[in-house]
Amino acid sequence: MDLNLKPAETFRGNFSAQNSEAAIRRFPFPFPDDLYMYSVNMEPHERGGPTAAYDAIFDLDEHYLGECADRAQVLADDPKRCQVMPHLIDAEWDTLELLMESLATDYPAQFTLTRNGDAWHWINRPLALDQRFTFGDAASLPCPPFEYITRQVQGDFTLQDQRDNDLFIEGGMVTSQADWSLNFDAGMSFRQWHGPVPLAHEAGVFDRALAYLLRLQLGKPVRRLNWTLTVNPRLDTSPENYPKWGPDRTTVTPENVGHKLCLRVELQTLTRLPRSNGILFGIRCYLIRLEELVRVEKWARRLHRVLRDLHPDLAAYKGMPRYRPIIVDYLAAFDDGAPTSPGTGPD
């Protein structure tokens, strides 16, 4: 698979991150209709979809180096962003195997995995890593296996243990999240960690989603999309660092909204793990500035209609109250009222 990596851009400070024309065309636009409401929008996660972002099991893109560097910085400042409870050690190795196998298959020019029994050899060329280790022996790696591999992949990951007909979030690498805290939520059940989400409990969304996930089968991963808005292409919008990014929300003006405001989309994947019977939840975050997104006319029209008509409780949950009219006014200029084509892909 083609993978052209840019030199590391920044997702903080001067926010140098931008999307190339190719990155815009592959963006996983999340709205299949002009009106948005919650649903259990899960589908099989197989290679291939509306854009190239769906072509790999774990998608990498031009931002790989910058995102890995941003993750390393978050971890240096706050090591608790990666934590796994000790009983999930099998799930750690499951994750390492799954990610290494997937990357080596989808991106053979960048990654190579050689297995000889328990003697494994991993090569990550973009990060210049060449690691021989013993599968199952954590001491043979420079850090625990889950941390080791998730430092080398774009997107957050959490580990769910399954027991008592429920899922418990008991591990994760969470450095690019949309305002939730792994350290606070660690140990919670499925309904508990979704507690703050408005409207969806009443709609039965979480009951249906949990029932579905408890039956998730080995070798049949599923995916869904989620979205929010973020001011500046900032990966780390954690509650821990809210004092750092919260003030950005007061800086949006009609003049800068196209450049500053980003649609943030999570391509979420759920995979049953073979040894632990746990579930790996991948949360791959994509950021696109509005001025980039409006280059796809269909997306500009549809995003305008979605945000204009969004339920106020949802708009509040997604942090929009301060600048919602500015965004809607900006996008209105790109909406001529023409119908939009079915599906999420660009025309």
């Binding site: 805290s181 350290n183 606070f184 939520d185 660690a186 140990g187 919670m188 309904r191 508990q192 960690w193 979704h194 507690g195 703050p196 409990h201 009443e202 979480f206 509650p239 821990e240 809210y242 004092p243 919260g246 003030p247 929300r249 007061t250 301060r322």
Partner: protein, 165 residues
Amino acid sequence: MNKSRPIYAPFQFDPSGARHLLVTDQPDPPADLNTNVQTLTARTHTADAILAFLPPHLATQTTGLRLYAIGSEAFVWDVNAIALAAGMGAGEVHLTRAGPLIRRVYCTHCQTMADDVATTITQCPGCGATLEVRDHFSRHHRAFMGVQVDAEAPGEIPAPEGFRS
């Protein structure tokens, strides 16, 4: 509706137990208590003393014990954590919330815990941030989530209110 918030049953004697221990950070146990129930109350012991007594005591117990905790949310979940660590199962421990509506709050920014918080807006004793107490409860931390309320616009702070539940 918030699904991380526990729902507590009113106190009820559990006849499936062979022995019964009730601990509370309130002055009095429930009225008309079954005489088989041993009690430790705030009239004779501080909450800290009760929490210190439990681990060695539970280590001497065999199955058949029923443990009842009545009091503030922080207290009953502290008791629950001790009971689980002692090997007791979910059906052997009964939690009931009672007393003033106060909360233990975890500061998301500096991870300091503040006990006995009575209002929706409170100052973190660790980092000094003015926190909004979100209605999001962790049984693991035995605390509610506190997040700086005026991070977007410093000084923009809503009036504190008492908790409704």
